[in-house]
């Protein structure tokens, strides 16, 4: 059959979006720690590591994510919610009731902290999908949750899902991270893995939802730096149905991990190599088998390569990965002490928590530091069969919901 050229005559020219957000610029400080034995550490340690990096931020964003923090609800999806008003809360809760057994709904425990103002209504919920609805929808539990998250973020005005993974949660807002951590009473939580972030945006909407970490199912990302390749990374992801609506590099990094790890099933180590590729000259010096893999990775994922200065920590239920750009333009220090692996923008952040670690080293550019909790399956959110556009909507909360192009990938 001849190729139908007519088909595209009325194709929507979706290129120049005046409403597309400004790119948000910024520098930052970050930390990540993981106890590979699965032993739990107080959130106070995470706060401490960020507190000594106070001067890396400007008080316009701080946040944390902890894993293993809800042992009493290990199989529930823990929703951390931000509401602008009561109406938004009521509307979101009606949705929860429709889709889930709500086993606990409560305000996030917080305390007043000087410097933290204009907090939205903060609630958390421990939810289980209705079995019959799951079956009806023929979705995995994760798909189902993402669908709800998407619905809330796209259609419930004034509601934002800060995190929605199992046995994890994100705590973030506008303020210095030690203030935010104190505000959320993080010392009352214990987790095997923590990530933390201190934000120095140079152009900020001062939005609680815009602080790091950025989450997607149980992925959480904190990020220091600036992705100079944002423009093409964004357009590359659009091809796969992702929509980068927040205008942050962090969002791009999260989707790229999702694309490579979950959808393309790349091993983590290779996904890191695609994001922070070795130089061509280095590839040329590798043994041929390895060079062939790297050449292919670079040629195929070139548009996704994160070019520009960055240090990133990706947290997940089961560990964390820290990664630097390929010529190390942002700081990253790592340490190991017993079963604990810790990374931060400054060594002092590590030593504030672990004064005398056995090893302290500066990771090589583009070489990931990987910590994995023993015996934990990874990644644990399973295989999703969802259209990627749904995922992007779920986490971005745009009201332009999923009108993306058909995904051909």
């Amino acid at each position: 059959m001849p190729y139908d050229l007519e088909r595209y005559d009325t194709f929507d020219v979706r290129r120049y979006r005046e409403e597309s957000p400004f790119k948000i610029h910024g520098g930052c400080g970050l930390m990540g720690m993981c106890d590979e034995s699965g032993a739990l550490r107080s959130g106070e340690d995470a706060i401490l590591a960020m507190a000594v990096q106070h001067d890396r931020g400007n008080g316009l964003g701080g946040g944390f994510a902890g894993y293993g923090i809800y042992p009493e609800f290990p199989d529930h999806f823990a929703f951390h919610m931000m509401y602008h008003d009561v109406a938004a809360k009521e509307e979101a809760e009606a949705l929860f009731d429709q889709y889930f057994t709500v086993d606990l709904a409560e305000p996030m425990p917080t305390r007043p902290v000087k410097g933290i103002t204009d907090a939205p209504l903060l609630w958390r919920y421990f939810l289980k999908p209705y079995e019959n609805k799951l079956e009806q929808a023929e979705l995995s539990a994760e798909d189902y949750v993402v669908h709800v998250v998407m619905t809330i973020n796209s259609s419930v005005d004034g509601a934002f899902v800060a995190s929605s993974g199992k046995n994890m949660g994100a705590f973030k807002g506008v303020g210095y991270p030690e203030e935010i951590g104190h505000f959320f009473r993080l010392e009352e939580y214990a987790g095997h893995t923590w990530v933390g972030h201190n934000r120095f945006p140079t152009n900020t909407p001062g939005w609680w939802g815009g602080a790091h970490p950025f989450t997607l199912l149980d992925w959480s990302i904190v990020h220091n730096g600036e992705i100079s390749s944002y423009g093409i990374n964004n357009r590359y992801l659009e091809q796969f149905g992702y929509k980068c609506a927040l205008g942050t590099d962090t969002e791009v990094a999260a989707y790229l991990f999702d694309l490579m790890l979950r959808r393309h099933k790349l091993p983590l180590s290779l996904a890191c190599k695609a994001l922070a590729s070795p130089l061509w000259d280095d590839i040329d010096r590798m043994p041929e088998d390895e060079a062939a893999v790297m050449r292919s990775l670079r040629a195929v994922y070139g548009p996704g390569m994160l070019n520009g200065p960055f240090a990133i920590v990706l947290g997940f239920n089961g560990g964390m990965v820290a990664l630097n750009d390929r010529i190390k333009l942002r700081p990253l220090v790592a340490a190991r002490s017993g079963d604990t692996v810790m990374v931060a923008s400054e060594e002092s952040a590590i030593r504030a928590v672990i004064p005398e670690p056995e090893h302290v080293w500066a990771p090589k550019a583009g070489e990931p530091v990987i910590a994995r909790v023993k015996d934990m399956e990874w990644p644990i959110h399973g295989d999703l069969h969802l259209d990627a556009s749904a995922i992007s909507c779920a986490v971005t909360g745009t009201d332009q919901s999923c009108d993306t192009v058909e995904v051909n990938a």
């Binding site: 706060i47 104190h182 009352e188 190390k328 002092s348």
Partner: protein, 273 residues
């Protein structure tokens, strides 16, 4: 190493004056949990009051220690992890760090000496104009870049471990030495790629050898001659003494010398219109 403000509240540093104790012309400052501004103020006050030795204890990441300090005959001891931009623009004092140093040590330093009994981070000695920086262990990326010499100001840096990419990049003067001895990266090359890239002055000495791919196209790789070693040995002896190392052991391996082909490596790159 930290203080708590109220139950459960954690602050990295408090903006309070540190505890200072004096013993003759030696002053000891407890930096534990003290914000850098108050800490450095105490250091400067001690120096202004005639202290010959300023011992700072429990340092953990406080920035700018010794930054902009112009004095002679002053010795600052840092116990702990020295923060970013230590000894930046420093003009005269000696700083000895018992621990690791973070990024940006000796940035645009003018004179004096920094001795680090540990590792140091990235961008060490950026644009250094004079004085000496000695590091016992490994150093990071972009170490000794754009060091420059002018008349009697000749900066010297000796690093005892290994270094990453861009070692001595843009180097315009002075001497940069890398020993590869006290390292935690035994399996890795002595130095990363782009060593001496854009180098157009000064000299780099490496204990051991280097492959051409590791070096910028602007540098020549030579075996150090006797004359070179005569220039280098007194510096290594000073370094060995500062680190408590054996000079003979340092000299037991042959040295490689990197020197620029030209003082104007890009003369032909541009075509005036």
């Amino acid at each position: 190493m930290t203080r708590t403000m109220a139950p459960g509240v954690v602050e990295g540093y408090l903006k309070v004056a540190p505890t200072v104790t004096r013993d003759g012309d030696a002053v000891t400052i407890d930096a534990n949990g003290v914000y850098y501004k108050q800490l450095n103020e105490a250091v400067r006050q001690a120096i202004d009051a005639g202290a010959a030795t300023v011992r700072i204890e429990n340092v953990n990441g406080q920035r700018y220690i010794g930054t902009g300090v112009k004095a002679s005959g002053v010795r600052i001891e840092v116990h702990g992890t020295a923060g970013n931009d230590m000894a930046m623009f420093m003009d005269g004092p000696e700083i000895e760090v018992f621990g690791n140093a973070q990024d940006g040590v000796g940035n645009t330093m003018n004179a004096g000496r920094v001795v680090v009994h540990g590792d140091a981070g990235d961008v060490l000695g950026y644009g250094m104009r004079g004085g000496r920086v000695y590091v016992k262990g490994d150093v990071g990326y972009r170490v000794g870049i754009h060091m420059k010499a002018y008349e009697n100001l000749v900066p010297i840096m000796v690093c005892g471990g290994k270094a990453r990419d861009f070692f001595g990049e843009y180097m315009a003067g002075g001497m940069l030495v890398l020993l590869g001895m006290n390292t935690q990266f035994a399996e890795q090359p002595l130095v990363g790629g782009f060593t001496g890239a854009g180098m157009h002055g000064g000299v780099i000495y490496l204990r051991g050898s280097v492959e051409p791919w590791q070096c910028g196209k602007e540098v020549g790789i030579f075996q150090a001659t006797e004359e070179d070693m005569a220039e280098l040995t007194p510096i290594l002896a000073d370094y060995a003494e500062a680190m408590g190392m054996d000079i003979e052991q340092i000299l037991a391996e042959p040295f490689t010398k990197l020197a620029p082909f030209s003082h104007r490596p890009y003369g032909k790159l541009y075509a005036p219109m």
